[in-house]
């Protein structure tokens, strides 16, 4: 017998093992006979059941709902509350809940429980923790929120995922969340934190029956893996594609790509109290040195993402098309700095009163494109004589150093839809001299006053005027320097149609999807 013959049985072993690995491991994931399962992949992990931590995954998968919804620009729409009104003194808000809304366990949503959920959310980090709320009470179909001062942004905050309504049975006696029992079209049937969850159409869903009746969500942390999943067609919807994957998909199968500009902007945060940056002309000079078109084209792979102002045109309320666009003009930048007394030294770096124009740029590592953008900025600012030392660090460094007052420059990707209405986030960032992700030591008071007036509530015409004034002042004063906008992309499989992106990233809109083919369950 040859040595090969000795291992004939081993070959069978290998084949059997491969077959086992290919076929036998993992769940099939298919639903009952005939039921098709939609597969969704995105970056975000359902690491906890608590709405304050992973609530956004449950609202996006349409398991849980909030009292208020938001349209594509973040403006409030009715949700679990059918309508709301402000009292005459503007210190209390009355919300009317939709009648007969049932949670996935059959229990009914009422005002008393809604008040309990919101009071619990208020005591934790989240949208409500900083709101001027005095008390939340409810009974029957009514919910009353009393304020310490007028606050028109309240409905926007009630659209935040940390305020999502979960059933009484979701909570343990100590207030911790033991199950996610929501009111959305889909009920959670299984969760494997932090990786995956499965949902099925709730028998208590009050709306039209969607075509997709079962879905599973898989969190894929690495952008490379998401791109490969999109390329292989393993998932029906793949969110959070990186720039390279988006570019390839747009080139090869544009019909499978859905894109939308989001209210997220790459900004250069700066200390407006720093001796080198306190004069607005110095900040304008830095802005004039930035080649946004090339950064957007080369790094974000989309030249249209170069930021001409803080908000993209898709956020129409906060975008003023009449404003002169931020642009590149290194000669003008050098002239402005010369006006301020800066003169180039032998190595080309500017010097004034023996001080070099050298700044430290902090870059968080949470977004892979940011260190690359930082490197481009370093080179572009060097061309006008400003030396930048890049420090790539922890995600939490920017708010920490901002708070300590030791931040010079930082690069961030700020989401202005964090609290749905961009006005709420801007109020955090630019009121009272600045916030952790906004202005720092910026003495401008007009913007703060306008933001306060907006938050307190004004009529629509006055609101539009105030927003225009805020956007204009931010463009003139440059307490942060906008660099580029963001576009989020979604890869859609050939099995489904009707996919769209929510720019506010509140929902994956599974209930709007249609199956294209009549293929059996996978």
């Amino acid at each position: 017998m040859t040595s090969l013959a000795v291992f004939r049985s081993n070959r069978f072993l290998v084949v059997a093992l491969l077959a086992c690995l290919l076929a036998g491991c993992g769940d099939s994931g298919s639903g009952p006979a005939g039921e098709r399962l939609l597969s969704v992949s995105a970056q975000w992990e359902p690491s906890s059941l608590d709405p304050a931590i992973s609530g956004y995954v449950y609202t996006r998968m349409q398991i849980a709902e909030t009292l208020v919804n938001a349209d594509d620009e973040g403006q409030p729409l009715p949700g679990l509350a059918s309508d709301w009104r402000e009292s005459g003194d503007r210190l209390s808000w009355h919300f009317t809940l939709l009648p007969g809304v049932r949670f996935h366990d059959g229990s009914v949503l009422d005002g008393a429980h809604a008040a309990w959920v919101l009071n619990r959310a208020r005591a934790r980090a989240g949208a409500l923790s900083g709101a001027p709320i005095a008390a939340i009470t409810g009974s029957g179909n009514e919910l009353i929120i009393q304020l310490t001062r007028p606050y028109s942004l309240l409905p926007a905050l009630l659209a935040h995922s940390s305020t999502q309504m979960l059933a009484p049975a979701s909570f343990a006696p100590d207030g911790s969340v033991k199950a996610v029992i929501g009111t959305g079209p889909y009920a959670l049937v299984r969760i494997t934190p932090p990786q995956s969850l499965e949902v099925r159409l709730s028998e208590y869903w009050r709306g039209p029956v969607p075509a997709v009746t079962a879905a599973r969500y898989l969190a894929i942390g690495r952008a490379e893996s998401r791109a490969l999943i999109a390329g292989s067609g393993q998932a029906d919807l793949v969110f959070d594609l990186d720039a390279l994957a988006t570019e390839r998909l747009a080139r090869e199968t544009p019909e499978r790509l859905v894109s939308a500009t989001t209210p997220r902007t790459v900004i250069l945060l700066l200390d407006a109290g720093h001796p080198a940056l306190s004069d607005p002309r110095a900040r304008l000079a830095l802005s004039l040195a930035v080649d946004r078109d090339r950064i957007a084209a080369a790094i974000l792979r989309d030249a249209t993402l170069a930021a001409s102002q803080l908000m993209p045109p898709t956020i129409a309320d906060w975008h003023d098309a009449t404003l002169p666009a931020l642009h590149r003009d290194p000669a003008a930048a050098r002239a402005l700095l010369a006006e301020l007394g800066w003169q180039p030294a032998a190595d080309g770096i500017l010097v004034r009163d023996g001080q070099r124009f050298a700044l430290e740029l902090r870059v968080p590592s949470n977004r892979p494109e940011l260190p690359v953008v930082a490197a481009a900025l370093q080179e572009q600012l060097r061309a006008i004589g400003v030396r930048i030392d890049i420090v790539v660090g922890n995600d939490g460094d920017i708010p920490l150093l901002h708070h300590e007052g030791t931040l010079e420059l930082a690069l961030g990707a700020r989401n202005y839809a964090t609290l749905n209405d961009p006005g709420a986030t801007l109020a955090q960032d630019f009121s009272h001299g600045g916030g952790d992700w906004g202005a720092m030591n910026w003495a401008e008071t007009q913007v703060a006053q306008a933001l306060q007036a907006l938050a307190a509530g004004v009529d629509p015409a006055q609101g539009a005027l105030l927003r225009r004034r805020i956007v204009g002042e931010l463009q003139r004063g440059l307490p942060v320097i906008p660099i580029a906008w963001y576009r989020q992309s979604l890869a859609v499989s050939e099995r489904v149609s009707g996919a769209s992106l929510d720019p506010m990233q509140r929902s994956y809109r599974l209930d709007a999807l249609r199956w294209k083919t009549r293929e059996p369950a996978r």
């Binding site: 017998m1 040859t2 040595s3 090969l4 000795v6 291992f7 081993n10 072993l13 093992l17 491969l18 690995l21 290919l22 076929a23 036998g24 491991c25 993992g26 769940d27 099939s28 994931g29 992990e45 690491s47 906890s48 608590d50 304050a52 931590i53 956004y56 980090a125 923790s129 911790s176 494997t192 932090p194 990786q195 995956s196 599973r216 898989l218 942390g221 690495r222 490379e224 893996s225 490969l228 999943i229 390329g231 292989s232 393993q234 968080p364 949470n366 660090g393 922890n394 995600d395 939490g396 460094d397 708010p399 920490l400 708070h403 700020r414 989401n415 964090t418 955090q428 916030g435 952790d436």
Partner: protein, 314 residues
């Protein structure tokens, strides 16, 4: 039996010292990391967009992060003696609960990888060992060098491209669908089987050149019978001993591969805990991994003792 008892007692003592030593070292390493823990944890809990100084201070107060280092270490030791690993700073779930869930996935992946590595390397190594210097032997050497030189992350990506994109045979990532174990297990197995095939080959070459192997042929046993009776057991001892040393490679690979393939195991959890500065989770994972190495080594020693009667009589 006396030798087995001695072996187990030694390993138990090792495990105890390791548990205390590793967790203490880990504790100080985590304290030495730059950045503010409260801000890191707040970013991981609520997302970077929601991190404010107020949120970070709330986390600091809730988790008692201002406790002096030595007092915090004391608390950790006392908790460890009670087998209490604490609660994850990010998810709020008990570390034991998290680990129990994740360890099952990792063991599944590791067992599949080792089985696949043995299935690939044993037949190839034996064939090459029976004909040292032959074409298969040379090809095996080149293949082993190449596979060992490719980082697991790159190998994983190449395999996804080959088996999920070009030949759609298996899912690219995840853990829910049929066949999702195949690519991560194959990635780990190829890395493991490269040196393993060389070990098998050397052991086979050495055994096949011994007088007892030649005598078994001379007395009329077939090639297969000679191998099964006199070859397999002699080859198994060095192969198993080598596998024990490769556990570190397996753990390193698991950390990388689980992240690439979105496999919800302990390596994936470690990466997330490190990014989120989830100290209880990191200490729990490191403890379980280091105790796992001791346990695996003890098991390999036991199996070697059972396989090799010479060891039992020393």
């Amino acid at each position: 039996m006396k030798r087995i008892g001695l072996l187990l007692a030694t390993r138990l003592a090792q495990a105890l010292f390791l548990a205390l030593g590793i967790s203490t070292l880990c504790f100080f390493l985590l304290r030495a990391l730059p950045g503010d823990v409260a801000f890191r944890i707040a970013a991981s809990r609520y997302g970077l967009d929601m991190v404010t100084t107020a949120a970070a201070e709330a986390v600091r107060a809730e988790l008692n992060l201002d406790l002096p280092a030595l007092r915090a270490l004391g608390h950790w030791w006392v908790a460890l003696l009670r087998f209490d690993l604490g609660v994850s700073a990010i998810t709020g779930r008990a570390v034991w609960t998290e680990l129990a869930q994740q360890l099952g996935h990792t063991v599944q992946l590791a067992v599949a990888a080792v089985a696949l590595a043995l299935a690939i390397s044993a037949p190839l190594g034996v064939r090459a060992g029976l004909n040292p210097g032959g074409r298969l032997d040379t090809a095996l050497l080149a293949g082993a060098l190449l596979l060992r030189a490719i980082p697991p992350f790159l190998l994983g990506l190449l395999l996804i491209i080959a088996f999920a994109l070009i030949l759609p045979l298996a899912p690219a990532a995840g853990h829910l669908e049929q066949g999702t174990l195949f690519l991560p297990a194959l990635t780990l197995a190829l890395g493991l089987s490269a040196p393993l095939a060389r070990i098998v080959r050397d052991a086979m070459a050495q055994v096949s050149s011994t007088p007892y192997y030649a005598f078994s042929r001379t007395k009329g046993l077939s090639e297969a019978a000679t191998f099964w009776r006199h070859g397999l057991r002699n080859i198994a001892v060095p192969v198993l001993a080598y596998l024990a040393t490769q556990l570190v490679f397996l753990i390193e690979g698991v950390v990388v591969i689980e992240t690439l393939f979105a496999w919800p195991g302990i390596g994936h959890a470690l990466i997330h805990a490190l990014f989120g500065r989830d100290v209880p989770m990191i200490q729990g994972v490191v403890l379980v991994m280091s105790l796992g190495i001791v346990l695996f080594n003890a098991l390999v020693d036991l199996v070697c003792l059972l396989l090799d009667p010479r060891e039992r009589t020393v």
